[in-house]
Amino acid sequence: MLNLRGIEKAYPLAGGTLPVLKGIDLTIQQGEMVAIMGSSGSGKSTLLNVLGLLDGFDSGGYDLDGVDMSGLSEKQAARYRSQFPGFVFQSFKLIAFKKGGENEALPLFYQKVPRRERQKRAMEMLGKMGMDDRADHLPSELSGGQKQRVAIARALITEPRVILADEPTGALDSSTSHEVMSVLREVNGSGITVIIVTHEADIAAKCDRTIRLHDGVIIEDGRSGEVVEPTANGAGSTD
């Protein structure tokens, strides 16, 4: 279970600060599939980064399965990142000079899993993604959908408790987006929490729950079908 209490986060600017998260209270149960929506600059990616311990916060509290995540050193945060979340990014974030299988197995490298074991698990995971024939391909030799599958496989290879996906379909066509969402739905079906940051209402509609942010504040939080459509003033905008 992820529990955020009054999370505040501001970025320093010349002559002041820019508040991005303004007192976020949020609880996400294990096994939920949650969409975080909001306009550009609403703070949704920052929220995802805080959840994934990629970024810190200024005040408030964050518990992960009852463990306090505030005030972690960079080394402790790295340890949590290697075990608790799996990340999926809009632009895939694959290392260009590493083959698909090597990219996928990289989190296990940082968990000090032996090479043979890494290779075995990477092949199994790619097999589940229908990508086992692409293990020796460089990212430049893969299509967008294939790259995202490798990225999802990389996120799943450490058997994380939560998948944090930042615009996972943002760079894909609608057909491939549908495939990727099917994969994420399947992942969620196995009990893994999936949190997706998206602009797209139809992507959010495939999740169980939708949280809408505006100007660093949660303005809506409910079942996906019940969250209101965008308004003229930008609140709830999905573009």
Partner: protein, 422 residues
């Protein structure tokens, strides 16, 4: 921390080979620096070996002393008194010195480097003729190519025998003619040749030595009417005794024996091979140090080049480092990776420079061994200790080179790195 297993090695190789031209160019500076160290240190050693080989005609702890005239009045004697040594002075010196192992009396016909007409049959030539004792070879080593050197029996019996240098043989004897048992005439006195030698070394002194003839010291006194007079002393300093100290002590002993003022600067002449060796050793140590210093500076320039390339590389790899951080790479892992990459590149380049440098030295050595002429240059080489020193310097520089890029890499926040393009 810097342990290297297969996984890390693969990581390092991947990073280095993904931009081979850049890796090669940045490595070139370090390789060149190390190559220069090996070549300059090896060349300095070659020069040292060559000079020492040329000095091989003399023993490292040999010393020579001779008398001149006084410059200070003393004990009723006027200044300008001519001094002479005789065989009793030699025996007295031997009995009283604490610094010398051997004192050999020597005298030359016609004085120092005075040449004399020597005849064999219809051939004749002008050569140095010296009176020496049997142990003279210990001070002036020579290769006896046939026969023998003078022995004590020659001296005791005052035999008219001689040992001739190789050039003397060439000039006085026909090609293929065996000189042993033949006689040569020196100032009308016949001497039987009992040995032929070639001098050690290649310098001018060695060339002169090849044109010399040695006869027993005792025979010399009788044959040329010099009686017990000694031209100069050839001596060996005891092991572990400082050459300068031995020289001063010996001069003072001779001065006291000949009633010369202790402060007289001119009365006794002295020349010490050991001192020359020490000076040469100092010179070559200086050369080695300078070679190492300038080579290290060249190496430093190469290492700074690698630091620069690594800094550029870190900037370009911001996204990659962000991905690694997001996947669980701890700061220590990133630090280890960046320093490891720098070390890998630097050591690889350094080893290439080392191998090429040693290879070139070996090739030059092979050429010289095969009869190539390089003047005063012999066996260019580099010893293992110097190689180890250079590798340690390289290792230190490589770690130094990696620290700045590693710190730069660590300063990148994961979230900022993930936003980076490229």
């Amino acid at each position: 921390m810097m342990g290297l297993d297969r996984d890390r090695l693969i990581e390092l190789v991947q990073v280095v080979v993904r931009n081979p031209l850049r890796a090669f160019l940045s490595a070139l500076g370090v390789g060149w620096g190390l190559f220069m160290i090996i070549i300059t240190v090896g060349a300095a050693r070659g020069l040292e070996n060559g000079v020492k080989a040329d000095m091989g005609n003399d023993v490292a702890n040999s010393m020579f002393a001779w008398t001149m005239s006084t410059s200070i009045p003393y004990k009723g004697y006027q200044r300008g008194r001519g001094l002479e040594l005789d065989i009793d002075d030699v025996k007295w010196l031997e009995a009283n010195t604490q610094h010398l192992d051997l004192v050999c009396p020597e005298i030359q016909l016609g004085g120092w480097q005075g040449t004399n007409n020597v005849i064999h049959g219809k051939q004749s030539g002008a050569f140095d003729v010296s009176g020496a004792i049997a142990r003279y070879q210990e001070v002036k080593p020579m290769n006896i190519t046939s026969g023998r050197f003078l022995n004590q029996a020659d001296l005791d019996a005052e035999r008219k025998v001689c040992v001739i240098g190789s050039r003397v043989q060439d000039i006085l004897f026909e090609f293929g003619e065996n000189p042993l048992g033949e006689t040569v005439q020196i100032q009308g006195v016949l001497f039987r040749v009992v040995g032929v030698y070639t001098p050690k070394g290649n310098d001018e002194d060695a060339q002169n030595e090849a044109e010399s003839i040695y006869i027993p010291f005792t025979t010399f006194g009788k044959a040329f009417n010099t009686r017990d007079r000694v031209g100069w002393l050839s001596m060996l300093i005891k092991d572990g005794v400082d050459a300068e100290e031995a020289e001063e002590a010996t001069k003072q002993l001779i001065k006291s024996r000949l009633s010369v003022h202790p402060d007289d600067p001119r009365a006794i002449g002295c020349w010490s091979m050991a001192e020359e060796f020490q000076k040469a050793e100092l010179l070559f140590s200086g050369m080695r140090l300078i070679s190492l210093l300038f080579g290290s500076l060249a190496l430093l320039a190469g290492v700074i080049g690698i630091t620069n390339i690594m800094l550029i590389s870190i900037k370009e790899r911001t996204k990659e480092l962000g991905i690694r951080r997001s996947l669980g790479a701890t700061p220590v892992r990133i630090l280890r990776q960046i320093i490891g990459e720098t070390l890998f590149l630097t050591l690889l380049a350094g080893l290439c420079g080392l191998v090429l440098g040693v290879g070139l030295l070996e090739a030059v050595d092979g050429y010289l061994e095969g009869g190539g002429d390089a003047g005063v240059f012999r066996h260019p080489e580099i010893d293992f200790g110097t190689v180890l020193t250079v590798l340690c310097i390289l290792l230190g520089m490589a770690i130094f080179a990696g620290i700045l890029p590693a710190i730069r890499a660590l300063a990148i926040k994961p979230v900022e790195a993930l936003r980076a393009e490229g």
